[in-house]
């Protein structure tokens, strides 16, 4: 039996048994692999780091989508940066209030490959008439973009690698420019226990541009090492404090099924453990 060992940390690693390799590419200075694992289904890894698995992706995609969309309450336009696997698109498309979705992916081959090998991620939503796919560098796109969006979701890779520009102050400033007054930016921000520096660095870089900046969290099993944090940034502090009643009302009205997200999770996910709060305060 073959095995795939993640190479994220020197002192700690998770290993997957590989039942079958569906796709492997080692050109273009990177190593991309999609394989079958008995516990997690199809697993996609880039450069030794797990990107997504069929079994636990719902946690990640639901949390990056429904938190900001439910908190806003009337989202019409959404911008997804990255997200070539289509999982974010699937979740955003569940919202009937949404009229327009732009997804910016740097590599069109990623989209095609994921449609073929991870079809359950996009679940056909690439064909949704509200969806507009742009092949461009995400940072470049927001820099030039003159449109406004109600929610921007940054579904990036690890900051060491092709996604590094999506963790810069310039990118955050450009995102602010592309947001409506009540707009919300959410970003993937790493596993806090393992990469606490990512939390403090992001906080520092977001604060100059947004009057309300914080994090929320969820544990995604294959992003090992504890809870993953998601950065939250907007200029309307009330959006982070919408009442349980209101969220419940909106969720019931939206009338779609989720597997991780629910109003109670929505409220609770903004609670941060003390070590994160201490690190943020120390670095403020």
């Amino acid at each position: 039996m073959k095995a795939y060992t993640e190479t994220l940390y020197d002192a700690y690693a998770q290993e997957f048994s590989v039942d079958k390799i569906y796709f492997e590419n080692k050109t273009d200075h990177q190593h991309l692999i999609i394989f079958e694992n008995a516990k997690f289904g199809r697993v996609m890894a880039l450069d030794g780091i797990i990107q997504t698995t069929e079994a636990d992706e719902f946690i990640y995609h639901e949390m990056l989508t429904h938190l900001p969309l439910m908190a806003h309450g009337n989202v019409k336009r959404v911008l997804i940066i990255g997200g070539g696997d289509g999982g974010m698109l699937r979740e955003v498309c569940k919202h009937s209030s949404v009229e327009h979705i732009t997804q910016v992916e740097i590599d069109d081959q990623v989209v095609e490959m994921c449609k073929e090998y991870l079809p359950n991620h996009s679940a056909g939503t690439y064909d949704d008439p509200r969806v507009h796919i742009v092949i461009d560098d995400g940072a470049n796109f927001v820099h030039k973009c003159a449109d406004k969006f109600d929610v921007i979701i940054s579904d990036s890779t690890d900051p060491i690698g092709p996604g590094d520009v999506l963790f810069t102050a310039t990118f955050y400033a450009d995102c602010k420019k592309c947001l409506t007054d009540d707009g919300i930016l959410v970003t993937q921000n790493g596993v806090a226990y393992m990469q606490l520096d990512e939390v403090t660095t992001t906080a520092k870089r977001l604060q100059p541009y947004f009057s309300d900046q914080s994090f929320y969290s969820a544990a995604v099993p294959t992003y090992i090492g504890g809870i993953m944090t998601f950065a939250w940034a907007s200029n309307n502090p009330a959006l982070r404090k919408v009442s349980t009643e209101k969220i419940t009302q909106r969720f019931e009205a939206a009338n779609f099924k989720t597997r991780y997200y629910n109003p109670a999770i929505h409220m609770a996910s903004f609670a941060l453990p003390q070590y994160i709060l201490d690190a943020l305060e120390f670095n403020a």
């Binding site: 940390y9 020197d10 002192a11 200075h29 060491i160 393992m194």
Partner: protein, 392 residues
């Protein structure tokens, strides 16, 4: 001076066939020799994990062969990483050992999945602050060795008394130093400097724990394992006995690793060149080969090596001769003041022990093509028994 063996012409047949098939000049890479060297060194250094220093011979066949044997790999550049990636080698079996790196070098290595790095000074240490949660560091210590042709402790390595300071600084930055590394020299005539370095490192490891509670768990004893060029060298078993003894003093939890390059690759490659012209100048016959010191014989300049040569002749008479390379530069001379039977244009000259730091340092000077490397007895070939060389 190069040792020159004269063999009867019928023994050139194999090389002639290879030249007919692949052209000249060639480097024939015999993967079975790599396997033999790996097994010999593994036996001489049991419980030492070997990381092949791929700079010696960065060739896919060498890497595949060592990969099947379970070797790790010692890399120093992003180019070497690209080579490993193409061979599917698992990144957790690699160590990045260049003491001086750019940020993009560190990022490339991390993206590949290599998380062990070597540092020897505080500026280098600070380059890892952004990656502190991901990496494990080895501190390279300098143990100068005046008895080797290449002293690898001049350009790199901190002094013994600086290790504690670096460890302390690392801890204050949230970085993990997991062990020490050293290079006793290249092509060492004996293992005295290895033993000295191991003894000193054992003290440093002990002191670190006693004084600060810092647990070090890796000792990288580098390379320097000799192969025979012109002079008789110590056999590897004899060379390693004192090293094995010295390693016994280390606590059991210490993982010992080594970075052999030359030892694994040098005997695995032979250079096959052809005489492309001759001249009589004064008392000397000059033979111009299609490969020289700007090509496969570059190790005679850069690596201070002199390679044993074989020529093929059935004539007993010998004449004073010079064997030169093909370029327009007069430094391009492989052997001079030699007495050999007369050679003809088209004759073959074979260079031995030419696997390490030969093609790796060859140039394109004069825009001469580099010698093609022809791997034989590769792991899959051996199983199919396609090409066998040197059947005597």
């Amino acid at each position: 001076m190069n040792r020159i063996t004269v063999e009867p012409t019928h023994k050139a047949e194999y090389y002639q066939q290879m030249v007919q098939q692949h052209g000249s000049p060639l480097l024939i890479l015999d993967c079975e020799q790599i396997i033999k060297q790996f097994n010999t060194l593994s036996k001489a250094l049991p419980n030492v994990k070997l990381f092949y220093a791929i700079k010696a011979l960065p060739h896919p066949a060498a890497i595949q062969t060592l990969d099947t044997l379970g070797a790790g790999f010692d890399i120093a550049t992003s180019g070497e990483i690209e080579l490993l990636r193409a061979q599917s080698t698992h990144a957790r079996q690699t160590i990045h050992t260049h003491p001086i790196k750019r940020d993009e070098d560190i990022r490339d290595a991390l993206r590949f999945g290599c998380t062990t790095f070597v540092i020897d000074n505080v500026w280098e240490l600070e380059k890892f602050i952004n990656y502190r949660h991901r990496v494990g560091l080895l501190v390279r210590v300098s143990f100068p060795n005046p008895n080797t042709p290449i002293d690898l402790s001049r350009k790199f390595g901190c002094r013994e008394n600086e290790v504690a300071i670096l460890i302390q600084k690392a801890q204050s930055l949230g970085l993990h130093v997991k062990g020490l590394s050293f290079h006793a020299g290249s092509q060492c005539p004996d293992s005295k400097n290895h033993v000295y370095a191991i003894n000193q490192c054992a003290k440093i490891i002990d002191d670190a724990y006693k004084n600060t509670g810092k647990l070090l768990s890796v000792l990288d004893i580098g390379g320097g394992f000799p192969v025979e060029y012109m002079q008789k060298t110590m056999d590897i078993e004899t060379f390693c006995i004192p090293i094995r003894e010295a390693l016994k003093q280390l606590p059991e939890h210490i993982q010992i690793i080594a970075e052999p390059g030359r030892f694994l690759s040098a005997p695995a490659m032979k250079a096959v060149s052809s005489v492309m012209g001759k001249a009589k100048r004064g008392d000397n016959y000059w033979y111009y080969l299609d490969d020289g010191v700007y090509g496969s014989y570059s190790g005679q300049l850069f690596d201070h090596a002199t390679y044993p040569l074989t020529i093929f002749s059935d004539i007993n008479a010998k004449e004073l001769a010079v064997i030169a390379g093909p370029t327009c530069d007069s430094i391009d001379v492989i052997a001079e003041e030699i007495n050999i039977p007369p050679l003809s244009i088209g004759d073959i000259v074979v260079g031995h022990q030419m696997g390490a730091y030969t093609s790796a340092t060859s140039t394109h000077f004069n825009l001469f093509d580099k010698a093609r490397i022809i791997p034989v007895n590769t792991p899959d070939q051996v199983s199919e028994n396609i090409v066998r060389i040197d059947k005597k």
